[in-house]
Amino acid sequence: MIKERLVQIISNILILSPVIYSFYYVQSNVISYVMYPINWIIFAIPVIKNVIPKYGKFVYPLAFLFTFTYFFLVFLHLIVVKNYLILQYFNAPITNLTYVENLVFTFFTSLPFIFIVEGAFSMKLQRILSYLVIGMADLLDMVVAIQMNSLLGGNIITSFTYANALFGMNLYTLFFFGYEFISIIFHVSTAFNNALDIAFIISIIGVISYFFFVSEGRKRVHMDGIAYGFLYGGMITVIVSYAIGFASGSFEELMIIAIAILVSLIWLRRSSKQKNFGLGEMESNAIEDTGR
């Protein structure tokens, strides 16, 4: 049981390796900007939750409750003129913009750690993939912000805000006007990209190992057929990637991928239609063929 759980955690970590690498890259570059007590508190929350399984379900609600109560008392301290005995301790400078910026920045840079830990301890594949997707979304913004920092004057908060604004602008122009706003005035460094590509390959190995080594139940399945999925899936990915190469602009890429996904889903749906067949009964003379 412990051995199986350990194998599952290792497999989950392999799947989450792009997020882990990106998180390491971001943390090593924002080390001088984050507010350390808050950073460590946020890191500790998912660890506590998974180390104490009996009371783990109370950890996040309690954390939200303490945070809300703290900031409520800070606001109350601002509003109330007299300094009461308890309120005097809740005097965080929330009217100071720099403080608030650093606080928000610390929160968003520390949040992916929660996704990593929750994903590592997760029992279900769809949750691990969801944490991978959400974690990458959060971290890739920060990677862009870090790499744009030198172009934008060196203030990481400004770069972070600018990167998010660019992302929003890109989405807007892509969906409403059919082209991306930023036509590669900025490109992520090759070194980071190469390392991330290796992390994605490790993640694919993790996904394959998940299906082989992690059992979500005691029923046996035949693993021979798993090769069909990866073989055909790989072939179609190559075809779609080749087709994307002919696309000029993100909108056309989006269209090609959307069509490929739609065709796959229709084919999937048609192949999954189960008619209610009952099994036939074997004749009694057929048993003699077994040589009994």
Partner: protein, 440 residues
Amino acid sequence: MIKKTGYAVIAALIYGIFESIIYSVYGFEFLTVFFLLIFFSVVLNIIAFNNRIGKNLKYIKVRRELQNDVMRKKDKTKVNLYFRNDSRQKLYFNYFDTLSDVFSLYGDYSGFVSIKPGQVIEKHYEIAPNSIGKYKVGPIKIYSEDPMRLSFIQMVSEKIDEVKVGPSSSDTFTQRSERLSNFIFTTGIHRSAKAGQGYNFFGVRQYNESDDFRHVAWTKYGILNGDDLYVKEWEEERQIDVLFLIDYSIGTNIGDQNRRLYDTFLASVINASYIIFKNRDGVGYILHSSVHDIFIPPVKSSKVVNKLERAVAEIRPEGTFSISSATESIRRNLRKNAMVLTLMSPHYAILDKDLVPKDVLSGKQQYNYIMDPRGYYVESDNNAIMDLTETLYNSERARLETVARAYNHLGLRVQVTNEGTILPKMIADYTTGRMANRGA
């Protein structure tokens, strides 16, 4: 069929693909390739599974063979399962034979099968029923999952066999044993060539001239005066029929997997029957509830026990029970005079203030037993629950005693008994009734 997990994984991957398209602007092209590869691998895996296994699973033929479909409680019976693959593909699936939880199972009643085209595979298992009645075996279900466990296919063979379970032969010890101790419940046995015309010693009286000289009690000669003579008096033994009325309502369906109240009733009744047969008396049965009213007329041979076993193997306890309806059933079915022994469950032993003697008295000599439910509920290891249960048992016993007294006031002989004392009490009452020369 795609599982919820499958839909969730596909949804997460589609979201990842679209997000990666946005980020590919910054140079993260491999992100898109990664999510596309995982997505198409998952989808094609499910499609390949549906086309290879899913479409061919319906060509599996199954067969179940039971060694016998009439069995006794606790006796093991062998069951053979056969699977044949009539398709052209090698198939794999998990199977299980649906069985009631009254059966203890040994062997391959569920498992995994990998079967080549044309191959026949055998699986064997044994079943041992823990309760009497009629039960179903089947249907056989087979199901297969894809390697990523995101979809599955299930097929059912609607082959259902019915199994009839009679009382256990190990419960009816009185049939087999001829030990002297088995006769402790019977006294005064006198086997004569004519059943029902034997004699029991009654006493001695003074001899007079009309008496048969063969019956002189020579051991008493001259005991008072030196020449006084006495003769033995004999009491004619009459044949009596005994009718067991068994409460077969849902109230008797209490207990655990290995021990049920209706099992206890039947075992006690059958044991008592064999003792009664030794006295050359007839035994009959009524299985009574609001749903069942099965009358087996009294017969002096043990074949009537076989009839009872066949009857109980066909049914299960159902319905409600009331003493007034049981009395009505006795009046309707029993024409001859007989002794009636009634076994009642505690659930339907209730005080009905509207009852009058004519509702409960059948006109026959009747002895009624209400079973104490102690021992038929699952015991807990928790001390607090044990104490509470003890209190409940005591209050239930007090209630049953009250009900028994109420029926006694109406003229019906009712007593509360338990598993250990029901057989001795029945035999004691039977013996008393016999010796009092009641019956036919």
